[in-house]
């Protein structure tokens, strides 16, 4: 029978042995060496039946299929755009996936999305060699005009959104800002009033910093009063 050496939800660092024995299976961010399962990153242990995985506390965004992300145009090629979505590689947005409207092949691509334009896009494919395909055909996938973009750790995104969007709802309501959070940790904020914009950014930074404290929703509500 296998033996779990660390408690559930406990923190481990790389190289730490989590499980001894063959009855458990390694899932995300852990690996097997002989009969041991070992942590690969700093994270919290999560044992689900026989699956052992880590919820990482650090590291940056790993592209996943069907994630809705916010990207910025970094380069333009003959057939599309290269977007920065916070991965080590740029993601490609192909011409035919760029818009639900027809785009002529000879069109000037900078007229559609120029350098540093911010867009919402969905990941359609991630290859093993690191290529990421994006699409902008679909509801809600558009170019974002104006506003400002801030970057937070992708692992903090669930906290910023909150349970069923509760946290993001508070921020939107109290600051009167438009806020869009991408799965990759890019957050776009727009408001008529720069003071409100600043307030929203400060709030998001606070959530990022204190993502682990309990009763954060109340704290945020108090801050935005």
């Amino acid at each position: 029978m296998g033996k779990i050496l660390v408690k559930n939800k406990e923190m481990v660092v790389p190289g730490e042995v989590i499980v001894e024995g063959m009855d458990y299976l390694p899932a995300g961010n852990v690996f097997r060496e002989n009969d041991k399962i070992i942590a690969e990153t700093i994270g919290l242990v999560n044992v689900d039946n026989r699956l052992v995985k880590l919820i990482p506390l650090t590291g940056f965004y790993k592209a996943k299929k069907n994630d809705v992300v916010i990207g910025q145009v970094r380069n333009i090629t003959f057939s599309g755009w290269l977007m920065d979505i916070g991965c080590s590689d740029l993601a490609t947005l192909n011409l035919r996936d760029a818009s639900s409207d027809f785009i002529d092949k000879k069109a000037d691509l900078t007229k559609i999305y120029n350098f540093n334009d911010t867009v919402i896009a969905k990941i359609t494919n991630v290859t093993k060699t690191g290529y990421i395909d994006l699409t902008m055909r679909g509801p809600g996938l558009t170019k974002l005009r104006g506003g400002r973009l801030i970057k937070v750790a992708a692992s903090k995104v669930p906290r910023i959104i909150g349970k069923q969007g509760s946290m993001i709802h508070i921020i939107k309501e109290k600051t009167n800002c438009k806020v869009i959070v991408g799965q990759n940790g890019f957050v776009w904020i727009q408001s008529e009033d720069p003071v409100n914009e600043k307030k929203a950014i400060d709030t998001i930074r606070l959530i990022e910093k204190e993502s682990t404290t309990e009763g954060l929703t109340e704290k945020v509500e108090g801050l935005l009063k």
């Binding site: 790389p14 730490e16 990153t41 700093i42 919290l44 919820i55 650090t58 590689d89 060699t129 690191g130």
Partner: protein, 234 residues
């Protein structure tokens, strides 16, 4: 005359006082500071990011690139800033000491840059640099098999000692310095250099001492990492 007592009153197998801190540089993806006695190293990790020139890219695996630098005020007499033959070598051995532990399969065509800066030097800088770099890599979230630990062992006069300081390295009756980096879980050695003379028997004994010291170092490093991320989760 034999070497009977260490200047700072340490035991022969005792390391200097160690301080470790993670997350010291805000702009880096991961960073750490490691202090052993009067030697202080800071390490910063950037990336994985795109690697240029393009011919250096490897589509099968990411690349680890280490850079070691001693700041001009880190030693008693000012050293000329910028890369030198020595810093190039140490950058390379740091890279080789760390590369068996990092898993960069997920980052094809990319590079992970590690910058090690020595802000104060009192011997054992490459070992301090490796320790700092290992912590910084973990902080950056690079997948790793283990946290490499490094310490210098050696022979001062006729005694085998752990963690030599500068005065011991310059001992007038001759001193030998042997930096060792060990993967603590598997006891594999990823760095072994030797400057001076030592008998084969002594080397084996010194390696045993290094292993013991590295396990101790590993505990301190893990503690430092835990300290930064404490309170996360739950």
């Amino acid at each position: 005359m034999s070497y009977t007592k260490r200047k700072d009153g340490r035991k022969f197998d005792e390391m200097r006082k160690i301080k470790a801190e993670v997350g010291v540089i805000k702009n880096a993806n991961g960073s750490a500071k490691f202090q052993i006695g009067d030697t202080i190293a800071i390490a910063a990790v950037y990336g994985p990011r795109n690697l240029y020139p393009k011919f250096l890219q490897n589509p099968e695996e990411g690349k680890l690139r280490c850079n070691y630098n001693m700041l001009s005020f880190s030693v008693d007499e000012r050293i000329r800033p910028g890369p030198s033959r020595r810093s190039k070598e140490i950058g390379l051995v740091t890279e080789r000491a760390l590369s068996p532990t990092v898993n960069l399969k997920e980052f094809p065509n990319a590079v992970v840059d590690v910058f090690v800066e020595i802000i104060q030097a009192d011997a054992g800088t490459r070992c301090a640099g490796i320790c700092a770099a290992a912590m910084a890599l973990a902080d950056a979230g690079i997948p790793m098999k283990d946290l490499v630990s490094a310490v210098s062992v050696g022979k001062v006069g006729d005694k085998l000692v752990v963690d030599l300081d500068k005065s011991e390295e310059d001992y007038e009756e001759g001193a030998t310095d042997m930096p060792v980096a060990i993967l603590p879980r598997s006891d594999e050695i990823s760095l072994l250099q030797l400057d001076g003379e030592m008998e084969a028997k002594e080397i084996i004994k010194a390696l045993e001492m290094a292993k013991k010291a590295c396990l101790e170092l590993n505990k301190i490093k893990k503690e430092a990492i835990r300290k930064k991320y404490k309170g996360e989760g739950k």
